[in-house]
Amino acid sequence: MIYLRLFFEFFKTGLFAVGGGLATVPFLYDMADKTGWFTHGALADMIAVSESTPGPMGVNMATYVGYTTAGIPGGVIATLGLFMPSLIIIMIIAKVLQKFRQNKYVDAGFYGLRPCSLGLIAAAGYLIFRLALLDLDAYAVSGSVRDLFHWKAWILAAVLLILTNLVPKVKKVHPIFFILASAVVGIVFAF
């Protein structure tokens, strides 16, 4: 039963993804590997759509993945699964808020969790890097380092990196602008 499976997978994601935004992404890569519901490439596209549309990114990802896997009910069920653990846990600890925050084991646990969550996000980022900027298939065939790199993509990445970090007025611009500009560049230069 696909709906039950979707609910369970996203419940798990909601329970173990710590933090906001990209924290769900490593779990979705794992889901892609285990279930075959979607490819790594499709997931990278979903991240772009989720970043460029309103709403918390994790929720957008759940709806998108659920929809592509099992239509409209799938989108709704995946989203329900994602926020169910939050709902239950927050309801329980809302009553003991201060105690929970000051509990030394909770604090110590999260001291270990935060770098872990960041490591998982970085690893998911590496998967996107491999997909967007390297051509491992062509490299495997020809063995030539020249074929390993998508040169056009490297130039775009360098420009984006500089714009988003170093140019004072531009770096404050909303990410949706960079995403749309990259889409145009991708079409014009036939990526």
């Binding site: 710590v18 918390p56 989203t79 993509a153």
Partner: protein, 187 residues
């Protein structure tokens, strides 16, 4: 006041307010903070600035998406369990509608060359955005040598091995507790 808070009308307002917050939020939980400050603290006085920061702090150190955690907190505080549920439904509602619309259109055109080229370009951008996000989160997450080790080990293992992230999360939490007990933390 209590009577008003548990009324259907108030629950509808909770839903509506958080739906508005959902529409105005782009990206992750952190992007939501300025909008919550205006809608919840300044306009509606449903929480003070300090309370909001508390919810955020706890939302960050409880499982789940920060945006959902914070919505559940405020809803629960204002109108109990029903309030928590309505606020959460409100914050996810715009996502569900908008994403379903976009996804249903996009899946029909996914194989068109223009769409493929566009997304090939977009993936490069997503890669840069993820990199920037990791750099930005670094200071808050990696505070000492042990933190750096946890980051590096988790990164390398999850690149090379096919293990569920759940395993890393559980082991990292236990490691955090053990390191703190052993007095290694902060060195």
């Amino acid at each position: 006041m209590n009577e008003e808070r548990t009324s259907i009308g108030f629950l509808a307002r909770l839903f509506g307010t958080f739906a508005k917050v959902g529409v105005m939020t782009f990206g992750g939980g952190y992007a939501m903070l300025p909008i919550l400050q205006r809608e919840i603290v300044e306009d509606r006085h449903w929480a003070t600035e300090e309370e909001l920061m508390d919810y955020y702090a706890v939302g960050q150190c409880t499982p789940g998406i920060i945006a959902v955690n914070t919505a559940t907190f405020i809803g629960q505080k204002k109108a109990g369990i029903a309030g928590g549920i309505m606020a959460t439904l409100g914050v996810v509602f715009p996502s569900i509608v908008i994403i379903l619309l976009i996804a249903s259109v996009l899946t029909h055109f996914a194989d068109a060359p223009v769409v493929r080229h566009a997304f090939a370009g977009i993936r490069v951008c997503v890669c840069v955005l993820v990199f920037n996000a990791v750099v930005k989160l670094w200071k808050g997450a990696v505070k000492d040598k042990a933190g750096l080790c946890i980051f590096a080990v988790v990164f390398l293992l999850s690149v090379f091995l096919d293990v569920s992230p759940v395993v890393y999360v559980i082991i990292a939490a236990v490691t955090g507790i053990l390191l703190t007990q052993m007095g290694v933390r902060g060195k």
